[in-house]
Subunit: 388 residues, 4 copies
């Protein structure tokens, strides 16, 4: 065997170790994508992490291998994810009668090294998958998912609690669970009172569901607002990134980009939801996101037809802003003859023309940010002041 | 329990059958894509099928569940696929020490019902994965992949042959197997002579490899030209469909869209390859693809500056055509002052201006179709005749 | 001088006739665009023409030569246009003190041959450009624009009437004319009663103005609804065609594509307006546009979680449809957990899921088509019936 | 008349001054585009200006008003333009028998204030438009275009020279002038020797013409290479900016962004041409553009199959780079199995894999940059060194 042949002789023909097999095939085909970036501003004292805490793999009824979920997060600019395969339902391999999984920790364990390598925070999780009530819940920050395999669902929640898990009631308004009305059941009060419900999934990307009831409950009961994909298919199959779409995610406002800080932030309800074109959350956070995403300057416009003032918004973020006028002094005229909404596209400038009548020198331009929901189905008010 | 509750009581809490689990989760999240269409013309007497005979799943080192491969084909407009997981290397679950697969037929079997439902032709296959020589080969149209599990690779090929498999030498120029020169080894002569090599993968989408040597061998040794993806990752991750990219595929010219006719067509070398912007194949097929994809009409142009003739090409296909002038009568002037290639984009019209000097009335517009390779790295000549 | 030289000797050096000059330069650079098509359905007995009756050229304060307006219409799929340069204001050449235009008919006359050649219907028009009241009006279907040059604006309107012009009040809510409130002035009553106002420009693309007052006046006073661009700049500069935007236009429902039929249709108020994503018009027309643009079929969905019914809309048009639920029987559930609108994109399918509770067999799916305005700022109701 | 009425009374009904007319109409409709940017790097000691010295308006046979040319340049990121209307042919208004232009300076004069306002450098020019020979030439940096109106073309050139104009022979290979062969005529020698030819238009965007002969003459005769649009239609009509296309332009390497420095740079041949995907110019400039546009780093790749080296190119510019291998040491393997070219898209990263055989530690990766033309139709060689 000559040199050339021996150089190629890196795999023995007969003894094929698993290690070699992986080396042989993966580096060849791995698609190298660069790290994505979703431009959503930080808040004062906090970094804004983009997180998705509800994801499936082939280890329950998802369609992709766990490492793929890391690549997706890396490519899209997601900072932290949890794989939350269904706990009770075993996995799709059981269908085949040929495979068995001894541990519900396996998907996380397979993905962990790749996550570390790619700089993605991976949080161990599982989905407690029961009929309504109580429906489905995600437990994240678990140490051992297997301990949640219990016949009685309350035992499963207790096991999660004993691991200090953060527990999220998933898609409360899902049509298969609550077809006509999204109800809060007695068991949810019980879970809440016993410290076994910390957040609710107000928006779910899989069903494209936004639940105004869940939104209200979060505000009333001091629960954390969560948005997630509930992804089963490959992410690129579901989301048209070329059209600037994004996955449903939870924005978590942390001091540092660590799992511990994410846990603390979730417990302290420092989150907002980015779902389709909407940002959903407490007004204090949304107001700061608005102000940090947009810069604007007020200049004088043309003088020949009226006292025209130009408010030029510069959107430095990937968010879109949909504005309409709120009630205001009739001497300040803006957006009067317009159908649809005044839209500030991502990474662009847009100028709002304001007319000051009867020689007034300034005043309040009251706006409603239609897609910044601070109450169920209700946009945030914001006033831009014009001074003389 | 009231009516509303009982309506929701479709899953028992404790006894969870696999059947119910699947019902619960899959219909909710299944992304409904419509059937794709790749516009490549049929030939006289033959339908042009778009096929991909080299695909991996989680049952070797791929990243997706087998049914996903059907959805991808459906969405993209692919007519037939073969799942060809590595035979010798077992599968990635072995890594976990928790899973085992008893049969190499499993990926195919899982996907079969979904394929039927979606109208995708699914061909049973496997990849004989050995060091060079002989390197990797796909055996397709197998009846039982497990019989190819043999210590000696010749036994594996013989087992494939005994099942009347169609056998393809994969990516002969792969850098890990043949880094500097793409060689034909004695064993390949042996395989060919013993009826255990029927085609060569001239183009491989995973490595973006086109092998001019493989192209030449196919022409010289009467082997079938194959192009395939060798997909491991989700297809949408690898291919930018929004930018009108497509997977590497084999065009198979069949009488009817049946597995049997695909088999016959492969054996009779009725194929071409569609790889990136290139179509690779025998001139008789490429000429007919060119003529069936393009319509053109010759009209008179402006008369004020020269005898101008307009050839207006109407491309009804999704193929792109890159043309440059071949040697021609100097009295026929075209594409003289141009850098780059005369490009006819998919589904569009493009006009070529020709100037007839010295009162000649017509003649031959000789062109080279740069991206229709009829010989290794060599474009097809085509003449458009202008008559007086 | 040899043959080669003489062949090139098509222009005499010294005597340069205007005819030769044009031949020399224009055919060289004319950009050949293919004919555009805007897919908006016809109505029963009527062809839907896409028209723009408010356009400027360099012969008032526009920025392009008249023939360019024909090319734009051809490229975009517009069927008929009127060039309506400002009558009273002369043209921008006067600025130079070097040019003079003797006739306001010149822009039309220059464009006429090109319009005929390209198959665009060109209607002679002019804009009576006065202060408010009465503001600006377009007179179209004129025979001689020059006769409208009158010191007293009522004389200008009378001259238009004597030519049987169709007269449109332009942009009544324009901020420079009516900054705070869009008023109907006594003179407008006078114009209406004397047959010198036939339509109102409800939507104006230049200012992106939609006037709900104008919309209401058209409905109340039986005036024709007009939408137009008021284009001054090149169209491609103003409208982002690559993002599937379109010019503001009047849809005119004619028996035949002739100027005469357009005139009759305008007089009989057979129009609707296509402005940004909105269609504005009488309900009888918009209902038929909706039904002819969309096909839908009702099928059974999954049975495992509820009685699911699928309404699959197939949008064959270039219109977008934004739907939201109207009040309906609570036993029919649809679009319950959704933020934003149910959107049917152009040339695509979209499926609406409906759940029938308590074993009902069918009923009314009441929808509001948010962007089909049948009253000022008010969407059209539409019911899709589900039968058992 | 009440306040509201009087506020609107900004235009007198009867006396219409030109000043008011413009105020009324233009500010309303002017489309506000933000300043464009074409990312092409500066050179050491020089700023790279993007210039277009061949543009027409309605004051010869163009289709747009002069100010529009300024808006186009502003929007696209062009730094300097010259309006070069045909001198001898008068203008298209003569066709009408109603208009006359007394001065060929008018287009420039109309555009000048707008250019200043927008920060675009506007250079006075005119096109000497004659039969071949000598064909068409642009004279730029003129002080008075009218002095070039002469029966004898040599007198026109002399008048240009007496104004210290920079004179460019336009589109020498234009099919109407030189259909079969692009010849250098005796008169061109005469013009060159008498200091009346300083550059040649090697690339013309209107005809999409690149002239290899002109390229060669520039190199041999020390003439400045010029690329320009020869625009007649609105720029957005001709160039598909949404597909990242750009106008043909001259890159001028200046010390400061002033007209004087542009003049000096042109005289000193500090230019390159950016035409379609090609950059054309002297090697010393193209090499520096290459190095300043691209950063690359060399890292070690996978070790399991060969000694793999990764060259990761980071393209910070809007240029595209098309690379192919030049002859090289056979122990350094790269781009071996590839059809087409190795492409580095604008503003993106691309990794080139190199394999070092036989334990060599480094060497030269010789490349040809296909679209950087340093000789007629000949790409630039570039070597990336890999060190051990």
């Amino acid at each position: 065997m000559n040199t050339k042949q021996s150089r190629r002789k890196f795999i023995a023909n007969k003894v094929i170790s698993v290690f070699y097999v992986f080396c042989m095939a993966l580096p060849l085909f791995s698609q190298e994508h660069s790290r994505g970036k979703i431009a959503i501003p930080d808040l004062k004292g906090y970094i804004t992490l983009k997180c998705d805490f509800h994801i499936h793999t082939v280890f329950s009824d998802g369609a992709v291998w766990p490492t793929e979920r890391i690549d997706e997060a890396y490519y899209e600019g997601i900072d932290a994810i949890a794989i939350t395969d269904h706990i009770e339902t075993g996995n799709r391999y059981q269908l085949t009668n040929q495979l068995k999984v001894d541990s519900r920790n396996i998907a996380h364990d397979i993905a962990a090294a790749h996550a570390k390598n790619k700089g993605i925070i991976l949080i161990r999780g599982g989905e407690i998958t029961r009929d309504m009530p109580p429906g489905h819940s995600n437990a994240i920050f678990l140490s051992n998912v297997d301990e949640l395999v219990k016949p009685d669902y309350m035992d499963a929640y207790r096991a999660a609690k004993s691991q200090n898990a953060f527990i999220i009631w998933n898609h409360p308004g899902w049509v298969c669970h609550q077809p006509d009305t999204t109800l809060w059941w007695p068991v949810h009060t019980q879970l809440l009172e016993q410290g076994m419900m910390h957040g609710i999934e107000v928006a779910n990307g899989g069903t494209r569901e936004y639940s105004p009831e869940a939104h209200r409950w979060c505000l009333e009961k001091k629960l954390t607002m969560i948005g997630s994909t509930d992804a089963h298919a490959p992410m690129q199959k579901q989301i048209d990134f070329a059209s600037m779409k994004h996955r449903t995610m939870t924005l978590v406002f942390v001091r540092d980009a660590t799992p511990e800080d994410i846990y603390d932030a979730l417990k302290e309800r420092r989150t907002a939801i980015y779902h389709e074109k909407y940002v959903i959350g407490e007004e204090k956070y949304l107001k700061e996101l608005f102000e940090n995403a947009l810069e604007w300057k007020v200049t004088k416009g043309a003088t020949w037809c009226s006292n025209e003032i130009l408010i030029t918004f510069n959107n430095k973020s990937d968010l879109t802003f949909y504005l309409k006028p709120a009630s205001h002094d009739p001497k300040i005229v803006y957006l009067r003859n317009m159908v649809g909404l005044f839209t500030i596209e991502p990474k662009s400038e847009q100028t709002l023309k304001v007319y000051l009548l009867d020689d007034i020198k300034g005043g309040d331009v009251n706006l409603i940010v239609e897609n910044f929901l601070v109450q169920p189905n209700t946009g945030m008010k914001y006033t831009v002041k014009i001074e003389n």
